[in-house]
């Protein structure tokens, strides 16, 4: 299972990529694999506020609806219209075109509450450094 080294992770299987104070949020390869085919994504609009570890939206797979929890707090700068139009991007490119929100980070300290790539691998039951699935 892919777990990029440069991202931070939540136990609920979201990832964050930080550029300056802009945080890009998505769900992990492990999460999309567990969900199966994603067919609908519901995301907050620009200007909305998200709170760390609170629900920020919903992904629906063929089987079920699942909440996405925000790994950090802040104001939504942009939501990815491409995943709303083509939800399968979440399955195909969870760390790239399948991103969900860009958020203006409110508190950098919150990143301390997230997992490193190695810790996240351990969390999903993979040994640190293993790249396989």
């Amino acid at each position: 299972m892919t777990v990029p080294q440069d991202l931070r992770y939540s136990k609920e299987h979201e990832w964050v990529r930080l550029e300056g104070d802009t945080a890009t949020i998505g769900i992990t390869a492990f999460a999309q694999e567990q969900l199966g085919d994603v067919v609908f994504v519901e995301l907050p609009e620009k200007g909305a506020t998200v709170r760390q570890f609170s629900s920020l939206g919903v992904v629906e797979s063929v089987k079920a609806a699942s909440d996405i929890y925000s790994p950090i707090s802040g104001e939504v700068i942009e939501r990815n219209m491409k995943v709303i139009e083509k939800p399968e991007l979440v399955n195909q490119k969870p760390y790239e075109e399948g991103w969900m929100l860009k958020v203006k980070l409110a508190d950098k300290g919150e990143l301390q509450k997230l997992l490193s790539a190695d810790d996240y691998r351990a969390h999903i039951g993979e040994t640190a450094g293993s790249g396989g699935s």
């Binding site: 199966g36 085919d37 609908f40 629906e60 063929v62 089987k63 079920a64």
Partner: protein, 366 residues
């Protein structure tokens, strides 16, 4: 509730594990919900072929001169009119005119029938059928020793013919034949639950692995995939087939469920008078097909009109072939007309939905 430790496994359980299936509890069984993915599996069945393990389903065998007449009284459809080698869909009804189960009755020989029932209902159905059988009819519940493997899809016939001792195209839709598949004695029927051409192969548990492998091998070049219960549900829903526990149960009557066509009202069957009256009076609610714009409706979600709850979703999903979010729902008859604008309450929001003609999908028949 069944606990996880008590989950039953079909004779193909190890095959599913080897194929990398996701296994989930279903009706007391540990069953594959998907292998490669629901959408890919769904499309394989629509465009090529898929192979299902349905060994969890129940098979009853009834024998004797009175078997046909007894089944004709137990099942809503025309069982008396079945010839040997034919099968028919129908409902097990009760005295209240509601639905105990939906079944397919196969006439295997002049005085020998097989009834295929839903896995969750095996014990209930067996008790119900036994209660209404005359003493000259022998009843046998063969569910525990019978495996069921279903090749379905436009290429299912050619794939099955490669491993069967006959050209299965000689079997008409809803026909039944005894033959050998991969050298093993089997009963094959041209029935299914996908909306495509296809077959159901009934055989003894000990033959299941050999037949499963032979069919997958024979079908690989034609794009056949193993199919889990996830795609089974999306396939049946696009084709607007009822699912017991969703559209139909012991609180629903066949008329409101849109299953009047399965009820032969000019014969006697359990609850016939109640069903006839329901038809005459007209139901207060009925199943409507919905296309939902902006969210996936699920079993149990409220249907609303002008903000007021008017009905309930019985099944909902994304339909991979129709590429829409589709649902079946009970709504008042006045709101069941095609084109009616309704809404489905999804996570406290009323999401627009339109009543559409069903089935959502029908195959172009050759």
């Amino acid at each position: 509730m069944t606990t996880e430790a008590a989950l039953k496994r079909t004779p193909l359980f190890e095959k599913h594990r080897e194929l990398g299936a996701k296994l989930v509890p279903f009706a007391g069984w540990e069953m594959p919900i998907q292998y490669s993915g629901i959408v890919a599996e769904h499309r394989a069945v629509r465009n090529a072929a898929g192979l299902f393990d349905l060994s969890h389903m129940g098979e009853f065998y009834l024998e004797g001169a009175g078997a046909g007449p007894a089944l004709d009284r137990l099942v809503s459809s025309d069982i008396a009119g079945l010839e040997s080698g034919q099968a028919r869909y129908g409902l097990l009804t009760n005295e209240r005119g509601t639905i105990v189960d939906d079944v397919i009755v196969y006439r295997l020989a002049p005085q020998r029938y097989m009834v295929v029932v839903n896995a969750a209902n095996i014990d209930k159905d067996a008790a119900h059928v036994r209660r209404h059988l005359p003493s000259d009819v022998r009843f046998f519940d063969g569910s525990a020793m019978t495996a069921l493997i279903a090749p379905q899809g436009p290429r299912a016939a050619r794939i099955l013919s490669r491993v069967a001792d006959m050209n299965v195209d000689d079997v008409m839709p809803f026909g039944v034949a005894e033959t050998k598949v991969a050298g093993k004695t089997a009963t094959i029927a041209r029935t299914g639950y996908t909306g495509e051409d296809g077959f159901e192969v009934f055989l003894r548990n000990e033959f299941a692995s050999a037949v499963w492998d032979a069919l997958l091998d024979a079908g690989t070049a034609d794009g056949m995939l193993p199919i889990g219960l996830g795609a089974r549900d999306t396939l049946r829903l696009e084709s607007r087939f009822s699912l017991y526990g969703n559209e139909i149960d012991e609180t629903t009557n066949p008329i409101e469920a849109g299953l009047a066509w399965t009820c032969k009202l000019d014969k006697e069957f359990l609850g016939r008078d109640v069903v006839a009256k329901a038809k005459e009076d007209g139901p207060s609610r009925r199943i409507a097909g919905l296309v939902v714009e902006g969210g996936v409706a699920r079993h149990g979600y409220p249907v609303t009109s002008g903000g007021r709850e008017v009905g309930i979703v019985t099944s909902g999903t994304y339909g991979p072939t129709v590429e829409k979010n589709i649902a079946l729902a009970y709504v008042p008859v006045a709101l069941a007309k095609v084109g009616t604008a309704l809404a489905v309450r999804i996570r406290e929001k009323d999401v627009p939905a339109t009543v559409v003609k069903t089935p959502f999908y029908s195959r172009v028949k050759k």
